[in-house]
């Protein structure tokens, strides 16, 4: 339920509305507004231009980096074409003689004794 104070407060707000009114803008309002809009636009434009330049530089750098990374791969292509097992086998091939030679027993000395 609304009390007496509520009504008084409503009346006060109403009087306040009437007392304040809406002030008029000065003659410079519109020119100043457009000056601010244009200054913000030029800032946005230069920011966009800077962002474009940065993006272009980033793409160029990525390409250069890509080329740089690709060059060592081309020179070591033979190594790259081998599988891990093949490369390992090639690096540590044991002497084939060690397995192929027959075992020789020196029995001659014993029989002559």
């Amino acid at each position: 339920m609304r009390g007496n104070d509520d009504e008084k407060l409503d009346a006060l707000f109403g009087a306040y509305r009437a007392a304040c009114g809406n002030p008029d803008a000065s003659a410079n309002f519109m020119p100043n507004l457009w000056a601010r809009i244009e200054s913000r636009q030029s800032f946005t434009f230069s920011f966009r231009r800077m962002a474009n330049a940065f993006a272009t530089a980033a793409v160029a750098l990525s390409l250069l980096l890509g080329i740089y990374m690709a060059v060592p791969n081309l020179t070591n292509q033979t190594v790259a074409n081998q599988s891990y097992v093949e490369a390992l086998a090639e690096a540590s091939t044991p002497d084939p003689q060690a397995f192929v030679d027959p075992v020789t027993l020196e029995l001659a000395d014993r029989t002559t004794r």
């Binding site: 104070d5 006060l12 306040y16 007392a19 304040c20 809406n22 002030p23 008029d24 507004l33 809009i37």
Partner: protein, 192 residues
């Protein structure tokens, strides 16, 4: 609505004349609202220009006609908040400035009935400003929009992006605080 949606559509396409028309239609109302929200007449135009600047750069986001005015109010409230926040940071709110304004107001007053009216208006403004000074900034702005600017709950819903019930609760609490301050001010006046 003070302008038709066709004008807004033209402004969205970059028509400067259409944008000028929108500003001309709304600037008085926006200036009035900002005057009541920030209480520093010398900065009102600056804040109003900031509102229209934000409007200019965000106009292309507007899709529905009916949200234009609440949206403009939201921009106004946000610009006022930003201004008040900056002011608080700078701690420039000095009583000497206020009295300077009051002197200027008094100087501008004409004689006779006009002077009496001005005195009365001044008293009312001071009373309400002092009452609303006793609540938080958020409550003050909300009450100002509802009670002085006359925005409906539906419009406030769009301005604040909250549902009606939450808004009613906030309004009720803010009003209760002002009523409390109002009651104690009346008691003081009665005793004095």
């Amino acid at each position: 609505m003070l302008v038709d949606f066709g004008l807004i559509t033209r402004a969205q396409k970059g028509d400067a004349a259409a944008f000028n028309e929108i500003v001309t239609a709304y600037r008085k109302r926006i200036l009035g609202t900002i005057t009541r929200l920030i209480a520093r007449p010398e900065d009102v135009e600056d804040v109003a220009q900031e509102v229209f600047l934000r409007l200019y750069f965000s106009l292309d986001q507007l899709r529905k006609e009916e949200v234009f005015e609440p949206w403009l109010y939201r921009l106004t409230v946000n610009a006022a908040y930003d201004y008040l926040r900056k002011q608080r940071r700078r701690q420039e709110y000095r009583m000497s400035d206020l009295s300077e304004q009051q002197v200027m107001l008094a100087d501008a007053m004409a004689g006779g009935k006009a002077e009496q009216d001005d005195q009365h208006h001044k008293k009312v403004r001071e009373a309400v400003d002092s009452l609303l000074g006793s609540v938080s900034e958020a409550d003050r702005i909300l009450l100002m929009l509802k009670e002085v600017e006359g925005l409906s709950l539906k419009e406030l819903e769009k301005v604040y992006n909250v549902n009606e019930n939450a808004l009613k609760v906030r309004l009720f609490r803010a009003r209760q605080r002002v009523l409390k301050a109002f009651g104690s001010a009346e008691k003081k006046e009665g005793a004095g």
